[in-house]
């Protein structure tokens, strides 16, 4: 049986998640501190989840200079009150929590830390090589005991760490300048409700260095279709999950579909990873 985590962005669907047979419930997202509930709300949620016999995962937003202190303060306010897992998404937060997190806190490398992808060295083909896990980075951050990845990331070399796969989408970018807020001519904190509803977008023009204009895509080009939740840009999943720990993004499911996905994700025993 796989371990299944339901990932929520806020506590809005916590009752629904607690009614489902998930092993863990996570709250938060990688992109934005504004969306993360306050420490009291998170503490109450953690208490409920843990009292129900589940694991509680707190997702740390990527820290920027003006948010770094707030991010760590909020995470530690929860972690000192309950034995939680924190998915860390930037090196600065990882360094701080590696020394400051209480002993009952488990640290995991979040998707913001596992985005590494080399560029092509082939002058005739700029298509990027497959994304891979920066195992050497993880070796420098030994407090991070597990890693979250999408289904496209090559996890070779990470056999010593538990692999947790997000199965619903492949994050391909986060905006410091949030596209959703920008579209609505606003910004944090007023933009908080706007990212509950995604944009579905499809590329129809390309921008070229040679002239700096956008021009129609060449005939036959596959048009990337993306989903944008707030400042997070997601691509569709193309690869089946293989890890024994699976994370379901509740935003992408109606209540009925989420219940079905939890059941389906428990599935059979996992195939060994490390391809």
């Amino acid at each position: 049986m796989n371990t299944v985590e339901i990932r929520l962005t806020t506590t809005g669907r916590l009752d629904e998640a607690l009614a489902l047979p998930a092993d863990a419930i996570g709250i938060g997202q990688e992109g934005c501190l504004t969306k993360l509930p306050d420490a009291d709300t998170l503490r109450r949620a953690a208490d409920r989840v843990i009292a129900d016999g589940r694991s509680f995962v707190l997702v740390a937003p990527i820290a920027w200079p003006r948010t770094a202190d707030q991010v760590c303060e909020r995470l530690l306010a929860v972690a000192t009150a309950a034995p939680v897992t924190i998915a860390v998404n930037d090196v600065g937060t990882a360094l701080t929590l590696s020394s400051a997190a209480p002993s009952g806190c488990t640290l995991v490398a979040g998707l913001g830390l596992t985005r590494a992808r080399p560029h092509s060295g082939d002058p005739d083909d700029a298509t990027p090589p497959a994304p891979l896990l920066d195992v050497a980075l993880l070796d420098l951050l030994p407090a991070l005991r597990a890693v979250e990845v999408d289904t496209e990331t090559d996890t070779a070399g990470a056999a010593s760490r538990q692999i947790r796969q997000v199965v619903d989408a492949v994050p391909v970018g986060w905006g410091r300048s949030c596209p959703t807020a920008r579209r609505h001519r606003t910004g944090p904190p007023d933009c908080r409700p706007l990212c509950d509803t995604p944009y579905t977008i499809s590329a129809h023009q390309r921008w070229r260095l040679q002239h700096g204009h956008r021009e129609p895509l060449p005939a036959g080009t596959e048009r990337p279709t993306l989903t944008v939740w707030g400042n997070a840009v997601h691509a569709p999943v193309r690869t089946a999950p293989t890890a024994g720990y699976r994370i379901l993004d509740a935003r992408r499911h109606t209540p009925d579909a989420l219940a079905a996905a939890v059941t389906a994700s428990h599935g059979p025993a996992p195939v060994p990873v490390g391809r």
Partner: protein, 339 residues
Amino acid sequence: MPVDPPPGQPCAPREPAPRPDPDRRPVALNAPVRSLKMLELQMAAGANEVYVALRPPADVAVSFDALPARRDDEPTHVPSTALLAELVTAAHAAGLRVHFCADAPVVAHGHEAAWRAHVGAGVDAGADTVVVGSLAGVARLSGSGIPLVAGLPMGVSTLGYAAHLRDAYGVRRIVVPHTLTLGEITGFCTLDGLEIEVPVQTGAGLDCTRCRLSDIPGVGLGCRAGYTGSQADEGPPADLGGFLDGASDCALCDVPALIEIGVRAMQIPGRESPNVRQNAKITQMYRRAVTGHTAGTPITEVIAAIDRVELMWQMGWLPRLCDQQRCRFRDTPQQRAYV
């Protein structure tokens, strides 16, 4: 809600306008180079540092720096070690510092030896520093005696990370992310023992460190592409233009502020530039702003002088940057949407 800056005009000067500090170390302009012609143009334009990258070995399918071998069909690398040595020698003869880019965001385990050899080629050619793109890369070279620059792909987005690079690995310069406010950069400049380099004249709005939208076949840079689409309750798909493009490129009006907060270098983009003369022109504009500030000339007067004589300013810069409010450090819709 703040009022947008008026379109069609250069940015207003900050009040009070920063005055030059005569004791401040001069700021460097760090410009891209991939050929002798490009070096010649950048030197003439006023660059006093250059950064270069070398084509990876033919049997390695990945680039060992922060760009692919070609972007939008333009080359990004110096094609040979012989030319690299020639470039470094010429740059040094002109008094320029040379940074060798080995700033791949990740080096696969199987490529580690080749990456180290690649770094060695840059050092053997005489480069003054090596720009690294990952914490693992910094750790690999720490203690080697090679002066290290933490490059843009590292995404050094917190002061704690910057201090760690300095204290644990001896890094002495950090290139900060595109998407920082002036106030945030000021914080980095207060860290003792670190030079802060700021990329100017380019940006993304997206967090480049974690982006997988570059070099999409047929599309190129996904952050700059045009999109159609809608929010679920907005109705049928509409033309959203550059929906993901939150770039705030131009920092020219804020060159005096950058100098006075203690920025050590400004990085001009363009190893992949399709027009090396235009690329050098950007360096020239920033040189005029630096020189003007050092001489006590207000930036508005510097820009007015540029406006009188520079066709590129009138035809390219004003309509594409000023009119579009693509101001790096000003109160614009792009910056108001910073998370």
